[in-house]
Amino acid sequence: MSRLGKITRRTLLVGAVAVAGGAAFGIYQIRRPVANPLRPEDGATLNPYVIIDRAGISIIAPRAEMGQGVHTTLAALVAEELDADWEQIRVLHGPPAAAYYNAALAHGALPVPEYAMKDWQRSVAHGIGAASKLLGLQVTGGSTSTVDGFERMRRAGASAREALKAVAADRLGVGPDQLRTEAGQVIAPDGREIDYRELAEDAASRPVPQVALRHPYDWKLLGRSLPRSDMRAKATGQAQFSTDIVLPGMKFATVRICPYLGGSMAGFDPAPALAIPGVEQVLDLGDGIAVIASNTWAALQGAEAAQIDWTQSPLPATTGAMFDQIARAFDDRPNSTMRDQGKPDDQSAQLEVEYRVPFLAHSTMEPMGATAHLQDGHLTLWVGNQAPREHLKVAAEAAGLAEENVTLHTVFLGGGFGRRVETDITRQAATIAAKLPGTPIRLTWSREEDMRHDFYRPAAIARMRGAVENGRITLLDAKVAAPSVTRAAIGRLTGRSMGGPDKGHVEGAFDQPYDIPHYRVAGHLADLDVPIGFWRAVGNSFNGFFHESFIDELAHQAGADPLQFRLDHVGPESPVAAGTLEAVRDLSGWGQPLPEGRARGVAMTWSFGTPTAVVIELAREGGAIRIPRAWMACDPGLVLDPGIVRAQMESGLIYGLSAALMGEITFTDGRADQGNFPDYDALRMFNTPQIEVAIVQDNPHMGGVGEPGTPPAMAALANAHFALTGERIRSLPLIRAADYLI
């Protein structure tokens, strides 16, 4: 019970300025709208990032911790300026609140390649970011959390520190400039120490002081690898995920929803489910059922046993027919031509090739789940999610409640990768809880339910034309066709239909830093209603593979070394991107002779503000191929925590290699053929390469790190495969073409 008590107490503290001896500091000031859209806005909204109560200092992280280490880095931004003791602070997920909008999400809104943005364009993007507060999108995604928090979280810490000092100065009768702060204490000139906890309540009612931020040279926490705030809980089994909340009288639920996507339920017979010991109720959810039981296993057995008549899916009956539908998009006018240089139509092509990539599942380690409890007209949910305000809204709708009668706790996410933006699990949990007032329910999906009801990375096709002359690319003409993730996912998230050129659809292809005279990238949106969504690196996940595979083909057409060939074309456009190629060349010893049966491939992509170059080495072993080594170099600009950056780079690489090597979702009659890890596996310890990472910090603008490792990994693998075998892989996954050690 103490756990629940603690959560409730903290929730009160977040919502109010000072309750039960705690104090929440409102820090960030958003200015009121003025006529000039390039100006930031005026006027104050108090947004809480810091709580000081009797137990100590809690830092509120506005973004979801899904493994990427964002709690640690965001908290360090506050703690750096606040002079909090790192070992003593607690980090909490922020509640759903407009104050926690993600301004950096909008930084990619302009139709220009990020690497080539001028300062004025960055200002415009920043202005759009301030305006995005109106949408209030509290979303963790797009590798934006650190970029978004970099200023305002430090300001939160600095303003709180100055408010605490001001109170201490009054009490001591000295000027604030005579005081210093350290490890959660204000220290007087005579050495007397006053704990922040004794000052917090008075400090909370002070006007918010605006102070200059510390110079990076003076940083004590930022810039080094900190012990992660979530590490101990995760090594001891204490970290709470969506289905780890224990409430008295709890029942256990699972669902079985129509697997024929777009289909529904014509009818069902609950009797076989109710015959399973432990099964208590079977609920009609419209497009499927929920089974309520005395434990999750009984619920899973019951869901399996129920007799259900499904209606058909409107989707094409086979995966092949889906690809045909995607290919038909090439017949229509392009939705966008965001790169259009020279006269590609006047150039004759030496290479004309087509690439294809499959649908992919997110396959987070933790299947979708949630805990919900409707009591006395108030719904409380615990769900790991990447968009708390949207989840709250959906929960309220589903339960037929006003939003103020819903409390949503974001708990740790057992992997996100874009999947937990989606609100389907929350809608189900709220619906079930509303049907069982007074009974807490823990909803757990089976792995099969998770894999068959994903919002998939879409399948995509690229048609490429290219030519080289004297070692240089003269023509690169790319067309990309796929259903639009932007339209599907942003539409679901905001309830608005998106029109206009779809940048996300061609990101990773149109925005790469190559100097090519005749260079065009056109995006074609396919009309295919498979549920699709944000999947780590989104459009870059397929376009990075298309573009960097084709660059490799052109390098071989030119008879050039693929790494030097890239440098020759990237150098004039972006010294920062070229720097990552040079770094990975040096790190890997590129060009040195390799033993028989070994070969290497390279790729470089620029995504989410961070150019990342990858070299993959392959080795023949018996009749199979394995991936012994990988080298990466990234340039995210100023690095706040090198340990976390390195971990994210490795993570992104492994996620990309897993997909490129063996990831594929296929459909029969609209139902995913793959249901569990034996059909949809990922790299494991024995087939994961030894990875080395170089971090360069020449980029003048801070980039993300959660996603940029994924796109180049896929292309580098296929390029290494060509170097080893002479066979160009233009269709993923690779295991369809060759025998890999998996």
Binding site: G237, E366, T444, F677, T688
Partner: protein, 156 residues
């Protein structure tokens, strides 16, 4: 239909059918949520616990067939942190953390049998434990480190 079970040194009565996999007894009946559900088909290792010191996939072990004392992640370090947990923290292994209870329990089984495993032996032992965040290099380093600590006399 109650059955007695010893978990983390405590004897307890459980009222669940004997077919119920140990995983769900631990999580739903006993509130020991450190052990995770990942696949239900012994393909990911997230549910790994010990029965009499041996790693088992608790999603496949029916309650009625549990013969021995059960240890979960909550009971691994009897007095504070087990050496593996200590190494996990030193090496900052976890990302999302969902698979890590199972990884640690599997690694503990390995070190009990092999106090100085090679990389290849670690790969063999850990191949059934999936991590979608890709923390494998840190896991391997932490296992080597914990093995060193145990050999130099750290308590089990």
């Amino acid at each position: 239909m109650t059955r007695s079970l010893t978990v983390n040194g405590h004897r307890t009565e459980v009222a669940a059918s004997p077919q119920t996999p140990l995983l769900w007894v631990l999580r739903d009946e006993l509130g020991l949520t450190g052990t995770k559900f990942g696949c239900g088909v012994a393909s990911c290792g997230a549910c790994t616990v010990h029965v009499d010191g041996q790693a088992v996939r608790s999603c496949q072990l029916p309650l009625g067939e549990v013969r021995g004392d059960v240890t979960t992640i909550e009971g691994l370090g009897a007095d504070g942190l087990a050496p593996l947990q200590d190494a996990w923290i030193r090496h900052q292994v976890a990302q999302c953390g969902y698979c890590q209870s199972g990884q640690i329990m599997q690694a503990a089984d390995l070190l009990a049998a092999n106090p100085d495993p090679s990389d290849a032996e670690i790969d063999d032992a850990m191949g059934g434990n999936l991590c979608r965040c890709g923390t494998y290099s840190a896991i391997r380093a932490a296992i080597h480190d914990a093995a060193r600590a145990l050999r130099s006399g750290g308590a089990g």
